[in-house]
Assembly symmetry: D2
Amino acid sequence: MEVGFLGLGIMGKAMATNLLRHGYRVTVWNRTIAKCQELVALGATVGETPAAVVAKCRYTIAMLSDPSAALSVVFDKDGVLEQIGDGKGYIDMSTVDAATSSKISEAVKQKGGAFIEAPVSGSKKPAEDGQLVILAAGDKTLYDEMVPAFDVLGKNSFFLGEIGNGAKMKLVVNMIMGSMMNSLSEGLCLADKSGLSPQTLLDVLDLGAIANPMFKLKGPAMLQGSYSPAFPLKHQQKDMRLALALGDENAVSMPVSAAANEAFKKARSLGLGDLDFSAVYEVVKGAGGSGQA
Amino acid sequence: MEVGFLGLGIMGKAMATNLLRHGYRVTVWNRTIAKCQELVALGATVGETPAAVVAKCRYTIAMLSDPSAALSVVFDKDGVLEQIGDGKGYIDMSTVDAATSSKISEAVKQKGGAFIEAPVSGSKKPAEDGQLVILAAGDKTLYDEMVPAFDVLGKNSFFLGEIGNGAKMKLVVNMIMGSMMNSLSEGLCLADKSGLSPQTLLDVLDLGAIANPMFKLKGPAMLQGSYSPAFPLKHQQKDMRLALALGDENAVSMPVSAAANEAFKKARSLGLGDLDFSAVYEVVKGAGGSGQA
Amino acid sequence: MEVGFLGLGIMGKAMATNLLRHGYRVTVWNRTIAKCQELVALGATVGETPAAVVAKCRYTIAMLSDPSAALSVVFDKDGVLEQIGDGKGYIDMSTVDAATSSKISEAVKQKGGAFIEAPVSGSKKPAEDGQLVILAAGDKTLYDEMVPAFDVLGKNSFFLGEIGNGAKMKLVVNMIMGSMMNSLSEGLCLADKSGLSPQTLLDVLDLGAIANPMFKLKGPAMLQGSYSPAFPLKHQQKDMRLALALGDENAVSMPVSAAANEAFKKARSLGLGDLDFSAVYEVVKGAGGSGQA
Amino acid sequence: MEVGFLGLGIMGKAMATNLLRHGYRVTVWNRTIAKCQELVALGATVGETPAAVVAKCRYTIAMLSDPSAALSVVFDKDGVLEQIGDGKGYIDMSTVDAATSSKISEAVKQKGGAFIEAPVSGSKKPAEDGQLVILAAGDKTLYDEMVPAFDVLGKNSFFLGEIGNGAKMKLVVNMIMGSMMNSLSEGLCLADKSGLSPQTLLDVLDLGAIANPMFKLKGPAMLQGSYSPAFPLKHQQKDMRLALALGDENAVSMPVSAAANEAFKKARSLGLGDLDFSAVYEVVKGAGGSGQA
């Protein structure tokens, strides 16, 4: 199977590499074309422009850094739109907002092409290990055709219906994650002030029904006041704001998430927005932002 | 090693059985003495009364159904107090409140005996498999002497300091659990009302950083409105109330837990108190208690 | 003093009448021109179009039903813009969003005219009695010139600075009002369930430090489940949403308002959005929307 | 009419004075007997002991500083109990908890006497002006007999049913008051951070539907960071805790009050407990307790 791949950043490089290793013929393109060499060494062909890649391949995957890059690769000169059309599929795996995704979808479909958005859950390591979780939405036929490739890239993929649902699913997951981070923070603080060891609480939690990788990974760092930003607090708060707005639109009352959101806002007001979202622990402790990145 | 064992209910029988299987000589007592026969078949000796068991054994473990049974076995005629004294240890693994635990501790110590409370996390299956989590507090020397037995009964034991800390640790864990159950409920409801499949949300959650046994176990049942009470909602709410009171005592502000507590109270007001605590999902959905046990 | 007046709805008619009674010469315009007759009987002159009114008068006040009417009167053919210019002032007293207000402000200023937004607090009765509260923002010189007219229309006027601040002030006031309505609802419900008479609670409240006209007016109706919509719940919730968004923008954590907002959302989800905002009492009571308009 | 009066502190002296001025014959007693002289000058008689007062008067009112004084005056040697009996009434207007009130009620009734609790809302000034609000509960017949005296002491009195209801009513009122103080604080903070003048917000509030004496009195002081303790924050938080506990008992979900309570707890944790309860504004502002008493 021949696929195009646009964007060879940390994520894209790992994903394209996995496709090559599983026998796919891959034509790659990257804005800084030199980055393609590593993949050529593994058997990839280089396309001069996004349009050239789409012209050559039936399916083209994109993994770009942000909405503006995602739009540029499609709409600019020598972009995807110039060659997309009947019988060709475009798969954008970048994390973008619903509006960006809809705009690309409309344009691709108007040219006769098929489109899915397929943002992923997971970062560098899962990308290298082919262990991403893929949240796809849009053209169901195209999704079905991509399943073999998704099986190479991820441990699981989901088809979520209409365009925008991939982004929505990420919001819901992140909302739950944000509330849980607050719950953990409150528990650690209560333990500490009640004469129990917060570290022992983490140990007990890790043996029980609510044990989860996030508590295990973040908990010990929180106790040390170390908040190196894997996921910046201001982005977590933005996702909670958007999830609450989605709830507002659909008249879903979510008092626990709303309370958690206010704690993240308090953290922002204390200047903790660029730290990891676990820095909300500082708010619960009542400190004035003494954590370190 | 010779140990006494008082109380052969579901939990106690499983625990005493494990001790016998690992080579302990065990002298058992139960209020309904016939229940001892099964353990005699496995090699146990029977004690006529709690006092008789304590007289014979250096260490006596109790696993009783509630605070009143725990007090009765110690303070009644032919009870533990009549024989406890220098060189003997009493280990109460029942789940009781701090006041009950303190009362027993005081009485045992006054007679010259050693005491630890050691409530467990985990129910029938973990008890049978020796996979309990043991939250011990009180006499550190006695705890150290009991570690080999605890290693048979549980996958892990913790020494938490002074009497009462075992109960406190359970409250903190249950408070986090209660908030998480609300977060999950809000997320499921938001997914549903936003056009996403709640079942797919469960699938996505189970692959990510916040995957945990509770979401995996309870989630699918919640979607079916099935709330068979593994842990009754009214008990969960009581534990949140007590955890919040502990926070009040120590001036710990916990807005997320407080919001979760109010949702559990709303569930109680709708008559859902005897269902599983996951029935708080009905409150988030805005239903009037249509769930079934 | 000569003023123009655009819009003779319930509010506008009462306001223009007051100006006439206090000796102002008023040129009126209304989309349905027949509505002008009542004011002509009181001494008003009629202008054929908004442009004609502005051409004739140094100051023109508008009191229109919504943002779209406010925009139309300015930008449409024969609209305000055609005649506004140097030495003329335009005062929009309609309740509109910040974007609408800014758009009108920009256009008027570009033509050389002066502009203030001046939304009011108060409805029909205060309008008739000249007891409105006027929240003005924009051109300070124009505001100062309008103070005598504002003194006729309202019991007080405030100059709040730059365009948009009038709308913001209303949001803040309504946010506090919405939280207070929730507090009252919770108190009434607690009284009722605790064996106290909710009506007596209202009586006690009315004698103390937190006595206020809203409790006095709405309380008794709430106890009867009567929610005739003076201010529809869905608008109250929209204002709380916007106030919370303003807080988000400025990193102000407001957990009490956030909790109140979630209660209003719950009310919306139960179909109470078109009732008075006091119908949030039904949510606190746990009823399923049994109130009546 | 002849009444006894026990306790001549700030409140009691003002109340007994009012009774004398309105033609009541009053027999007074105070622990420090010298304090009686001022009232003797106004026509009062002195009783040597509480028992002596009760022996002489059909009705005896008490206004004591706290629960321990209230109990002591009844149960100690030469106390109320020694002379109370058939045909005599005892009216305790002190602010005490429900347990204290019940204990006194039981004892008085067992002797054949009648009892009402009648805590008041209002402090020194209203006491002097006969403008207290009286929250009575217990024996209805005795209440009816006391109404003429209550009309002298207060602007209004309420009969609330069974013993304990007076205290409960105060809790409900204070709960609403505490939530309103949070709402105001959030509004002031939002105004400030959004470029509006908090003082202008106070002015606007004072002209509208939610204008109330508390906002008018406390608001300006809050803006100056001045929190002279008229009602200490730790007492306000205690009352919210008790009100929430009352709600828990009766399964009343009160998320707004719960959120407000957590803010007061945060204030306590920052060392603001001895300031006025309006110091919760410091928490909303995110300051670390910079206010002054």
